[in-house]
Point group: D2
Chain length 416, copies 4
Amino acid sequence: VPTYSPCRVAFGCGMSQTNRRVGFWLIGCFGSVSTTVAVGIAAIARGLMPTTGLSTTLPPLASLELDSLDHIVVGGHEIRKGDFYSAAHEIHKKSQIFSIPLLESIKADLDSWSGNIRPGLLVNAGVTIEQFSDQSVRPNNSLRAGILAIQKDIQDFQTRHHLDQVIMINIASTEAIFKDRPEYHSLETLNAAIDQDKRELLPSSSIYAYASIEAGYAFINFTPSLGASIPALQQLAIQRNVPIAGNDGKTGETLLKAALAPMFLARNLQVLSWVGHNILGAGDGQVLADPANKSSKIQTKDAILPAILGYKPQTHVSIEYIESMEGWKTAWDHIHFAGFLETKMTMQFTWQGCDSILAAPLVIDLARLVLHAHRRGESGVLDYLACYFKSPQGVTEHDFFKQVAKLHSYISQVER
Amino acid sequence: VPTYSPCRVAFGCGMSQTNRRVGFWLIGCFGSVSTTVAVGIAAIARGLMPTTGLSTTLPPLASLELDSLDHIVVGGHEIRKGDFYSAAHEIHKKSQIFSIPLLESIKADLDSWSGNIRPGLLVNAGVTIEQFSDQSVRPNNSLRAGILAIQKDIQDFQTRHHLDQVIMINIASTEAIFKDRPEYHSLETLNAAIDQDKRELLPSSSIYAYASIEAGYAFINFTPSLGASIPALQQLAIQRNVPIAGNDGKTGETLLKAALAPMFLARNLQVLSWVGHNILGAGDGQVLADPANKSSKIQTKDAILPAILGYKPQTHVSIEYIESMEGWKTAWDHIHFAGFLETKMTMQFTWQGCDSILAAPLVIDLARLVLHAHRRGESGVLDYLACYFKSPQGVTEHDFFKQVAKLHSYISQVER
Amino acid sequence: VPTYSPCRVAFGCGMSQTNRRVGFWLIGCFGSVSTTVAVGIAAIARGLMPTTGLSTTLPPLASLELDSLDHIVVGGHEIRKGDFYSAAHEIHKKSQIFSIPLLESIKADLDSWSGNIRPGLLVNAGVTIEQFSDQSVRPNNSLRAGILAIQKDIQDFQTRHHLDQVIMINIASTEAIFKDRPEYHSLETLNAAIDQDKRELLPSSSIYAYASIEAGYAFINFTPSLGASIPALQQLAIQRNVPIAGNDGKTGETLLKAALAPMFLARNLQVLSWVGHNILGAGDGQVLADPANKSSKIQTKDAILPAILGYKPQTHVSIEYIESMEGWKTAWDHIHFAGFLETKMTMQFTWQGCDSILAAPLVIDLARLVLHAHRRGESGVLDYLACYFKSPQGVTEHDFFKQVAKLHSYISQVER
Amino acid sequence: VPTYSPCRVAFGCGMSQTNRRVGFWLIGCFGSVSTTVAVGIAAIARGLMPTTGLSTTLPPLASLELDSLDHIVVGGHEIRKGDFYSAAHEIHKKSQIFSIPLLESIKADLDSWSGNIRPGLLVNAGVTIEQFSDQSVRPNNSLRAGILAIQKDIQDFQTRHHLDQVIMINIASTEAIFKDRPEYHSLETLNAAIDQDKRELLPSSSIYAYASIEAGYAFINFTPSLGASIPALQQLAIQRNVPIAGNDGKTGETLLKAALAPMFLARNLQVLSWVGHNILGAGDGQVLADPANKSSKIQTKDAILPAILGYKPQTHVSIEYIESMEGWKTAWDHIHFAGFLETKMTMQFTWQGCDSILAAPLVIDLARLVLHAHRRGESGVLDYLACYFKSPQGVTEHDFFKQVAKLHSYISQVER
């Protein structure tokens, strides 16, 4: 295993000189994204891997005072038994990522962090997700009791590890779509409903969000689940002076749509139809094979084009679970467009990526940026993080490069 | 044939209310790009086609005071015999673009413009181009005499059609690469060399550029040929108060590189290799099959990635002449990149476009923008037009979206 | 329009010296496949087009005594008003196939054939197909009356044009799946049910098949509809000494599967998953967008792999209606396979074809071959035609090259 | 590591009950193909891997009396220092094939076989190959002495390991093209030239072939190098009663051409152009980056289409060395074809394979089949093995399925 320590500076790891220590509290720990987050933090912190994939280690983001990767402690909730080291080995075997020598070199870190995992909450997540869980589920006395238990787990984690800050990040599997309810529209009505213990009120992701925000911890929703998207939780975030960000990490096909659609617009090439066919295996694919969970995903993937182009071309997005793909995903996109004199032309692309490898660095980037915002006293939805999300909260701009420009302009303000 | 007249406003044709009339003087008239320019101007001016593909008819560009498409007269130089109508029919037959009813409806315009074509100049263009030419070549008494003859042709055109402005646009086939010479470095030395009638001094594209600029006509080089890229001609442009723009219209694969590479950078995904394989038929393909002419093209296509990424990945660009493709071009690009934890992933795309259909609207956009700049008194290289060129003169920024942002910021200034 | 008359021999048109005249009676005349059949027969018979795409004009098939293309008269049933010439123009405009000069040169043939079209039958075809029809539908007094009326139309056609033979070919849109019924299992029970006028008994395709076979005309089912697939109709064919062939022309993606799967088998490369995503516009796409009609199609497309490979890999086939594609179809197939030492590898292909251009020559090939068989006294299912069908009746062999070998061995027998 | 022992029978390993032991003498041992051959034999013999990729373990080939994989001993010549175990580790690290636990389980076998490797011969191979070699090269006293030394190495190997049969297989890097010479046309003239010690007479591959055949060992040339392709060596093979087979294993893109072209022919679809662009890394890519060595390869890749189709479409084959690909290869093929009524359509495919994983099982299949032929007393070129080679010696049939049919018909004869 090569040692990258001299690269730390070259790659702009943004390692601080302070002794500040922070915690990443992950929801859905032994999934492939979380496991990759843990492996990545350990490997980079020990100088065994370069920082490729982390946007916060390149200019201009690297100039912010972000937390060093060797000052991060990982913990979280999980509804399945397991540990990071075994999960990482399993991923290596199936998806050919990580290497065995690398995993041996960071086994101590992974094992120590596995000790920080607590049984998760499982409510209203849909049948497919529920079948994955084993006994590691928190018993459900009441909604309020569940919230308090979550908060206690995080506070214990913070105390035990002497952490200056902790952030909660939801990376659990996509839940089935949850319809809007009147109780969501104000904090008051939401609190009342929680007190009445309406069990069907909220999906797990939103209960976690509530618990985190109410206890003063920043919250990131990296999935298309409901999370903190409802007005009541945004109110709570402002009230508790807590920053939040979401939804749904923009990792692959949607990132490409957000980068390519502005090009078609700039050239006045009229997109006639945009078809995206995604195949993927592993846990995520299996959950998305359930139509209820899949529709959450497709909805966020399909909204982006009209927002950028200003008109609605015919679109079709499909996601299929193909077991042999394991942790890898292939998207085939067919873009049919009209150019000058109504001439039809075609662009096709295939994107062959490893989902967790694409997602994990965004999780780390986002956590570093939101922790930084928290320290600066920012609260509520951080709209300048739109470039990281498929469905950025509070933002209608979907042009990737305008989103990036917005982030860069935030950095300029901070630096001034 | 449908009539689009009501769309003119809807599509933002930017039709002016003035009686101003302008001339497009094309070098290389009966090539497929020029023919498509002529067909497009006539079809849109008559309301028979929408303005798809013209970026100047969409906001924010549409707000500039640009020349209306029905006030444009077309003329130019050509080294082959022919006429627009026959050339358009040939293209239709081979490449399935345009429709016969459309061509019938605009025959009068095309025939009238064909009457404006004068025999072209053919010097130092390389063997392959030379074999295309027939007797329609201007005899070469001396360099200076050639220049004067070109200028007289344009001036006659302007007088005969009562044109307020004329612009020269080089769309002739790509010439073989021309090495830098000491005479290029100042207007004084260049003039001296012309006076000494050094025949091997300049390629046709630069003689045209000289003639145009010296006579006070704006000049656009839409090809990778030398054109006005030498310091002496930029000096001349400033001296004569003439705006110039070039080189090499950014139509297909390079446009995609310029749009996609910034995405890889923004995500810190390390491009390991970027292979582009282009196949195309028709005249352009045939000229590019000559290694001398091809290397001009590949050079401009290959420079863009290091400029955007900040490092040099392995790149390979090839262009092959495949007869059956006729006017169509397919580019296959294979992008191999490393993400988090050194994991290699792949993006591939194919771009199936009709070259002249992609190029012609850019020619019209550029001509309208440079004529507008000329009226405003701008002179020398117009660097805000970089987004239209593969090798934008005077600009090192190759990120397509930053180039577009620069153009938009120019528009804001004009409007203020 | 070029003239190909000298090529007739070179291309092996197999033009006979006899005065035999034959009729093609098409079900679904103004659809794009039928229109292309009519255009093709006329264009090749007049020497205006080469015979590319017709397998019966190449060795070894060309050695059979097949009917010359200039001795064919076209007629048929259609549920929509229209004519071949207008239908061909419409297809040209939307899908860029045929050329206007070609259509002018064969207008007389097309118009004459349009005079042979009679109102069609429309029963149990599914809602989507029904909405396409207009008044050109035969009133339904009773099943038996409907059958007699169909037979009378064909007999009139044969008499009027002095035809030696007529063949019926079903090219109407894919019907919704029709479940097996006890009445199908013998001719006796079927006849009884028809006499009892059970209106929901049979789809149109099978009523046509019944009418054709009972009247002594050979029948080809080029679609996945039920047609003559039921035992009762096969009995009828034997009884009347009539040859039949079907189902579902093997034109594009399935042809490729049938050609590629044997290669994976021959190399012992284990197909892990085979995903096929098809997008197409035009009439066929629209009909297939109806889930009821689509499932007929997908079923035949999905059966082929296990039959060739001997095991069942994970497969996924989807067909989506994308309006902008018009008559064109793009299939993207992703084949994931394991090689030596369990190494996973990938083949992907895209197939961009024009459906009617791929289908029409197979219709002509099949009709020529079945007419030939009829003359030779063959009756019942012609299993040696399997290479032309996605779901060949009476055949379990799906390896394309073994199917071709079977056809070639039939030819050797005929020649001996 | 899973154990596949029960599968041996199920997968049809063709394990014999005899005590016969055979030797594989590989030329170019520590290249990726040879290393994969060694890893594969050991892994399958120990029941740790299934026989996927080995065509000789499936019916009908499995019915022949072939040598069991656990009775094979590996040895050979190599011009570089090294050993199988280290080479395999290096390949794993770069190309993500094999697994570390697997390599540990077979380390004893690999190490024992590494002890059988002797310094190789290096003459007339081209500059690029020569730079790879280190001191492990046999000193060159004279051609005849070199031949004797090679023979002695093999005979020692056979004696030491008590082997019933040994076969030599050339898997060394592709040599630069060697032009035909008068001395090649008869054994007599060749022997005379060897006796005169004409050093520039033969490339290494042919010297090896001579040595092997003359000493009575069967010879397979798995590369496009000259090997035993010359008449003189074929004479020698007949004289010594030795079977030979070659040239150039048909692993990827060419296999696909040989499988797809017959489909285009069977449908009378006219191939207008077939473009193949190959990118690959690792040793083979690097050698092929040298134009001299590359042209050997392209020549064999380009001959196949006219042979199958019966006419010559425009073809273009390119191979580029792209370092980041390591042992993997991607071929992009663009097939432009005309269908009915001269309509142009397109098929494209990408093939993403690991070269050594595709090649190694063919090496094992071929060696088993040629050893079997040797025991049966067959000699000279074995033309029924054409389906395994890009340029099958003595065969003009390039249709893959006809080649397979020929092999199957040989098997039927053997069994009778």
